[in-house]
């Protein structure tokens, strides 16, 4: 009896020792770093704190989605950087998804040529470092574009030049009404789909859901244009002569080359990984599923929509979200070509000016960390919800 008790206690102690050592080591490292940091900051006469966020930043940012100039605070500059990061990530995710799905499906095409071309797309763009691709687009490809006076002209609507891509600016009146109408349309589509499902399950009637939803999405905003005073005009870019030899474009919106290069490189690079996910997902649905669906009389579209896609998506979505996250993190490479994202604006310029390395790097890392962790929490929840419930 005594021996058994001793063994159990022995085991407990055996478990406790490594944990205690690890925690002690961790704490001592932290204390060591903290004391050093305190001494170092004391020597340089800086006190740890985040008060600097309210100070005037006094540097300019080339591209901003919100009002900003040098007179705004460092906090505002942080926000500008964050929004720019989000902007390029959203654009990148949008195009990466489209290219990725097309390439992924093409790799499984019965057409030999298409499958080969898609395979080589993946092999080429996946195996070249992203930073080199960004450099290539920014320093080589986009620099080969013409000067404003010889701009590549798209029907007098938009112009592509070495200084960026000039597109028309949307000028809305009563934009809020238009926005609400879109919201309303989306809500009605939700109810239409619910109703259609009920009809199908109870009465066996098939409603043309897609057509109905599409019409709703068109008609609701159209009504606001006709009756609620919503209108849309465009402010087209036009060529302006600054001096006898220097031309520029005025009006419209200018999409800076940094943004184009970054978005193109990010979406083409990430698309290769998404393509592989899509391919794996479609291959992951067993043939028996399609045959079973065909044998109960579903047609080709129904098989795809009701049997293959739901199962394939379950395989595709988790790794693809991971890729979206990677794309967002990779957008920090923007710093290499001076696109004013959070790393360049905050961890670059703001850090140089204030010298507050610890605060600024911590804030930048925490921002990314918050983004990552919230997405992975969402993914875990989604995976649990979508997992096949086995008996």
């Amino acid at each position: 009896m005594n021996l058994k008790k001793f063994n159990i206690e022995n085991k407990k102690i055996k478990n406790l020792i490594p944990q205690a050592i690890t925690i002690a080591a961790l704490i001592s490292v932290i204390i060591y770093f903290a004391t050093n940091a305190q001494i170092n900051m004391g020597n340089r006469g800086i006190a740890f704190g985040f008060g600097f966020l309210n100070q005037e930043a006094s540097f300019d940012i080339t591209f901003s989605l919100i009002d900003y100039d040098g007179s705004y605070s460092y906090g505002r500059a942080f926000l500008v950087g964050l929004l720019n990061t989000i902007l390029v990530s959203v654009i990148g995710i949008f195009f990466a998804t489209i290219i990725g799905v097309v390439i992924g499906v093409s790799r499984l095409s019965e057409n030999y040529l298409i499958a080969k071309v898609a395979e080589w797309y993946v092999e080429i763009f996946r195996n070249i470092p992203l930073i080199l691709q960004i450099f290539f687009w920014y320093f080589a490809a986009l620099r080969a574009l013409p000067l404003p006076e010889n701009a590549i002209n798209f029907n007098d609507i938009s112009y592509l030049t070495i200084k960026g891509w000039y597109v028309p600016k949307f000028i809305w009146t009563n934009f809020d009404i238009f926005f609400y109408s879109i919201m309303l349309a989306i809500i009605s589509i939700y109810f239409i789909n619910n109703y259609a499902t009920k009809q199908r399950e109870q009465l066996g009637k098939q409603l043309p859901t897609f057509t109905l939803s599409f019409l709703t999405l068109i008609i609701f905003p159209l009504i606001t244009f006709l009756f609620f005073g919503v209108s849309l005009t465009f402010d087209y870019p036009f060529l302006k002569q600054l001096s006898p030899t220097v031309y520029t474009f005025d009006g419209g919106v200018s999409i800076i080359p940094e943004l184009i290069a970054l978005a193109v490189a990010l979406s083409m690079y990430t698309a290769t990984f998404i393509a592989e996910n899509v391919r794996a997902g479609i291959l992951g649905v067993s043939k028996g599923q399609k045959e079973a669906a065909a044998s109960i009389g579903l047609n080709k579209n129904q098989i795809l929509k009701l049997v293959v896609m739901p199962q394939a998506l379950r395989i595709i979505i988790p790794p693809t979200t991971n890729q979206y996250l990677n794309l967002t993190k990779n957008s920090s490479l923007a710093a290499a070509i001076a696109y004013p994202d959070i790393v360049l604006v905050f961890a670059g310029t703001a850090l140089m000016q204030t010298g507050r390395a610890i605060e600024i790097i911590s804030i930048t890392m925490l921002t990314y960390l918050t983004l990552s962790i919230s997405i992975s929490i969402f993914m875990n929840w989604y995976n649990k919800k979508m997992a096949i419930k086995e008996k």
């Binding site: 944990q19 690890t22 019965e110 195996n127 080199l132 450099f135 320093f139 961890a347 990314y368």
Partner: protein
């Protein structure tokens, strides 16, 4: 009546030659157009002439699309690139774009490119100026490493490749010692050789290291260090001891949640603040630590995947033989788990190699960084395209070879069937 009926087995004899002729005509038109600038469909309106090859090829493909024609080659062709109208169109469009894009690429890369000369003025052709690469080649490979000392890098790498080559051929028993030597002893010898300062070798500071050799040095060291750390973290994350488990989770998620560039920034500007005043750790070592810890977190997640995929029976069997924790993991669990995740490990190592150019943020210049330096040289402005195409090609060859090798390894180690 027969001529306008759908293509079938009966009228195959008439349709096949006509269809083949149409496709041939289309291919001829686009090829002549692309390579010789001759437009044989020039008599048509310009827009139709532009798409003439696709239109006529499409008709040709329609005419020869006969199921079970009895001709083996025709059936294979139809099945693979001509199974329906849409597929035929895609085939033609792909061919069209491919053929159209060959001449400009060929011209730029080879025909109009310049290979001889020593300065930018020798680049008179329209194509690429490979003279740029030739002149700067030394810098691209060795960075700012002094010329008379470059043999040291060469010796280090040639010895490495020779040792790796020998390891493949020696007997199983010796192999173990060779691998241990390569991992634990050789890196120290190589670093001593390259950095110098002893044995009568001139000291070369790490700031002068660069180019492709630096890419290799950083990749090699990061790979050697990140692998064991990753394995320990993975085991830690699955440990029963709560303190170790949560510290591992926190560590892994912290690194995985932030971009490498911020980690490098941290190692450059924030890390020195944490050290006693006056201590100085070499920039290269700081970068190496940052990359190693960063990739170790990814490695840990890959290894964890393998650990989770192993059936519980393996653990129980090992326990029932009376094995302790370490014996069980080293002899039973890890060999199987690691084999399962070879593709994942290979992907992580590939990502590591592809991440090395990022060290530009702390001022170290490997291949991509050296190209950035060379293209801003006043004598060589406007050479960005050549430089980045060259760097892309070099990285592509390295990464493609790595991924191919990992696929082979996976097949060879696979114990199924």
């Amino acid at each position: 009546m027969e001529l306008i009926s759908k293509p079938n087995k009966q009228n195959l004899k008439t349709y096949l030659p006509i269809g083949t002729f149409f496709i041939f005509l289309g291919l001829l038109d686009v090829t002549l157009n692309a390579f010789a600038g001759i437009d044989i469909s020039g008599f048509l309106p310009s827009k139709i002439s532009y798409f003439f090859p696709i239109i006529i090829g499409f008709i040709g493909f329609y005419l020869i699309r006969v199921e079970f024609s009895g001709l083996r080659n025709l059936d294979i062709l139809n099945k693979n690139i001509n199974s329906n109208n849409f597929n035929a169109f895609l085939t033609l469009l792909t061919l069209y774009i491919l053929i159209k894009s060959i001449p400009p690429l060929l011209n730029w890369f080879i025909l109009d490119a310049n290979f001889v000369g020593t300065s930018k003025d020798d680049c008179t052709g329209e194509g690429a100026c490979w003279v740029f690469i030739k002149v700067w080649f030394n810098r691209f490979m060795y960075g700012l490493y002094p010329d008379p000392e470059q043999w040291r890098i060469n010796v280090a790498f040639i010895t490495l490749f020779a040792l790796v080559g020998v390891t493949f051929f020696v007997s199983q028993k010796l192999k173990k010692y060779f691998i241990l030597f390569l991992i634990f002893v050789y890196p120290i010898i190589a670093i001593k050789l390259i950095s110098g300062g002893e044995f009568g070798l001139k000291y070369v500071e790490t700031a002068a290291w660069g180019g492709l050799s630096l890419t290799f040095i950083i990749s090699a060291f990061a790979i050697i260090f990140c692998f064991p750390i990753g394995v320990f973290l993975a085991l830690g994350r699955r440990s029963n001891l709560p303190a170790i488990k949560y510290i591992s989770i926190g560590f892994i998620e912290l690194w995985r949640g932030v971009p490498l560039i911020t980690v490098l920034f941290m190692s450059a500007v924030m890390f020195p603040m944490f050290l006693p005043d006056g201590t100085f750790i070499d920039k290269l070592i700081r970068v190496l630590i940052a990359i190693t810890l960063f990739e170790a977190a990814y490695m840990a997640e890959v290894v964890r995947g393998g650990l989770q995929a192993l059936p519980k029976g393996q653990y129980e069997a090992a326990r029932s033989l009376g094995m302790g924790y370490w014996k069980m993991n080293v002899l039973i669990i890890l060999p199987q788990a690691l084999k399962l995740v070879i593709p994942g490990i290979a992907n992580t190592l590939l990502a590591l190699v592809k991440d090395t150019p990022l060290i530009f943020v702390v001022g170290l210049m490997e291949l991509a960084g050296m190209i950035g330096l060379a293209k801003t040289n006043p004598k060589w402005l406007g050479m960005a395209m050549e430089g980045y195409v060259f760097a892309g090609l070099v990285f592509w060859i390295i990464c493609y070879a790595m991924s191919r090798y990992s696929q082979r390894l996976e097949k060879r180690l696979s114990t199924e069937r």
